[in-house]
């Protein structure tokens, strides 16, 4: 099957994923809207005025890109992870395995779905943020680049998780015990430079810290890290995770006995 046909196959899968996300909008789009509204009300409105960052940016403005990134990361990851695992669980993955769609097209199809959900929820959070504060864009290119690349990276990571998952518990472990702590300690709600030295050093090892700062730079023009290095790291992660997933699918890990 040629390249064009593979594109159609991948597009079909992507479209199927997008339809699924829209069909379950009350589970996929509403919860992040409610959660982030709470963050904006509690941390932004009620406590935000008492927090001084030492620059012209208000706390709620500082927090908004972080909340958008939080939403993008968790939704991209969870979408691909749960969708691919469900396909394995109810054996509908066999629809893909017996068809002539290749492994790269399968991964792109699922990642496309993760990207759609990640960006859709990110947009919802952004719109909610506009109700609470004025949102400025320093660089549209950086906003899109970091939002899209981060969503792709975490969709790919969710795919890897789903390949290895054997039961529903296995798809909840990483989001609960790894992603959530990393996101909350990744500078979403605070500036790492305000932390004691040893916490600052620990934060430097947190990959979420770099993508949050990347998006914050896109919105506010401020960043605590080197933006180009963060961008390059994301590109490397995309290639690395793509390679890992292609290898796992080719070997049939988790899908072929």
């Amino acid at each position: 099957m040629g390249f064009f046909r593979q594109c159609i196959a991948s597009y079909t899968l992507m479209l199927k994923e997008c339809h699924r996300i829209v069909r379950i909008w009350s589970q996929s789009l509403i919860p992040p809207a409610i959660t982030t509204s709470m963050y904006f009300i509690v941390f932004g409105n009620l406590l935000g005025d008492k927090i001084q960052l030492g620059n012209d940016v208000s706390y709620i403005q500082f927090m908004t890109p972080g909340l958008i990134m939080l939403s993008i990361i968790s939704n991209s990851y969870v979408n691909v992870c749960s969708s691919f695992f469900s396909a394995k669980f109810q054996k509908s993955i066999e629809e893909l395995m017996v068809a002539s769609i290749n492994n790269v097209a399968i991964i792109i199809g699922y990642v496309g779905g993760g990207l759609f959900r990640g960006l859709a929820t990110g947009t919802v959070v952004c719109i909610i943020g506009m109700l609470f504060t004025e949102i400025t864009i320093h660089s549209w290119a950086m906003v899109f680049a970091f939002a899209i690349l981060t969503s792709i990276v975490f969709s790919l990571a969710g795919f890897t998780n789903a390949i290895f998952a054997k039961k529903f518990d296995d798809i909840a472990i990483v989001p609960t015990f790894v992603l959530t702590p990393l996101i909350y300690l990744g500078g979403v709600f605070h500036s790492v430079s305000s932390l004691p030295q040893h916490w600052q050093s620990l934060s430097m090892a947190n990959p979420i810290y770099y993508v949050v700062n990347g998006l914050r730079y896109g919105f506010l023009g401020i960043s605590e890290v080197n933006i180009l290095a963060s961008f390059a790291a994301l590109v490397v992660c995309v290639m690395l995770l793509m390679g890992v997933n292609i290898y796992l699918l080719r070997k049939g890990v988790g899908i072929r006995s």
Binding site: R5, I8, H19, R23, S92, E95, M97, V98, S100, S257
Partner: protein, 311 residues
């Protein structure tokens, strides 16, 4: 590939195929067989004999341990995508999204084979209409009855117009009406040149549809021959005769056949050679038995299957 070879090569060629699962179970053990183009091939065996594993390997759902599989001359290890384009498969278990609409399931399956959206849409409609499911296209699949779900599985397997159709118990759970509809469709597909491999526990299905039979037992092929050849080995057969009721009929005694009166209107005749049936019926007629109807009591393939697998 050479044109002449493409026309004459077997639809499926399996050489020394072995599958050992991680648990150590040897599901199939060094099996070899061929399926000719256009053949309607039955692969029979008890539960756990290795049928589904064999089908799983051919359709890329299971990794083989060793051996070689070729489909229409293409090696599975080297031309997996090409082979997938030529194969349609109906697995034993339902494998579609239960919350998806029937039409979407078939349309998407066509899309996974690279058919452009409009073509996929037309193909899905055509296939669902053929299987009398089009009127349920907008219903979610979990609302379908068991027989409808079976037909949906069949519809999915046909969207890529396969040259080789592999069916793992396609009529399991279907009622008589649906089973006959499926048989009719399979007959049409076979007549149009599609090679079909069928596994089933309904041996009546095999006798009605297939022209070649292989029996797999404990991972090994124990029989592989034409249906005609297999049936010719069957000597003893039992028939049920419906007769006009009468109280004063004489007993029948012959060394060539045995007759047992089951009730007022039914006789059971067990005959050692089918060629003697005509003579036996004539003798019964001469003794005053008025025969209204005659049916073969036992399924012949079933009888042979049991004798082969038990031995």
């Amino acid at each position: 590939m050479d044109n002449n070879f493409a026309k004459t090569c077997p639809a499926l060629k399996i050489e020394n195929l072995t599958k050992v699962y991680k648990s150590g179970i040897r599901a199939i053990d060094n099996i070899s067989f061929e399926v000719a183009q256009g053949s309607f091939f039955a692969l029979l065996g008890q539960n756990g004999a290795g049928k589904s594993t064999t089908i799983g390997i051919i359709t890329s759902l299971v990794n083989k341990t060793s051996g070689k599989v070729s489909v229409f001359g293409y090696d599975l290890d080297q031309h997996r995508t090409k082979i997938k384009q030529m194969i349609g498969v109906v697995p034993q278990e339902f494998n579609f999204g239960t919350f998806e609409k029937t039409g979407d399931i078939v349309r998407n399956q066509a899309g996974f084979f690279g058919l452009p959206p409009r073509v996929a849409e037309a193909k899905a409609k055509e296939t669902l209409q053929r299987l009398k499911l089009w009127y349920r296209a907008e219903h979610v699949s979990r609302s379908l009855s068991g027989g409808m779900k079976r037909r949906l599985m069949l519809a999915k397997s046909l969207v890529n117009s396969p040259k080789l159709l592999i069916l793992d118990e396609p009529s399991a759970g279907a009622d008589v009406e649906i089973r006959y509809q499926i048989w009719e469709l399979l007959g049409e597909l076979s007549a149009s040149g599609t090679t079909i491999i069928l596994t089933t526990h309904y041996l009546e299905e095999v006798e009605k549809l297939c022209d070649h039979v292989a029996i797999i037992n404990a991972g090994k092929i124990v029989e592989n021959t034409s249906l005609q050849n297999l049936l010719s080995r069957l000597n003893e057969q039992t028939f049920l005769l419906t007769i006009e009721p009468s109280d004063v009929l004489p007993t029948v005694d012959s060394d060539k056949y045995t007759v047992q009166r089951l009730n007022e209107q039914t006789l059971e005749i067990n005959i050692s050679d089918i060629g003697l049936l005509g003579g036996a019926l004539q003798e019964l007629g001469q003794k005053g038995y008025k025969i209204k109807n005659i049916t073969n009591k036992t399924n012949r393939v079933e009888q042979l299957y049991l004798s082969i697998t038990r031995s």
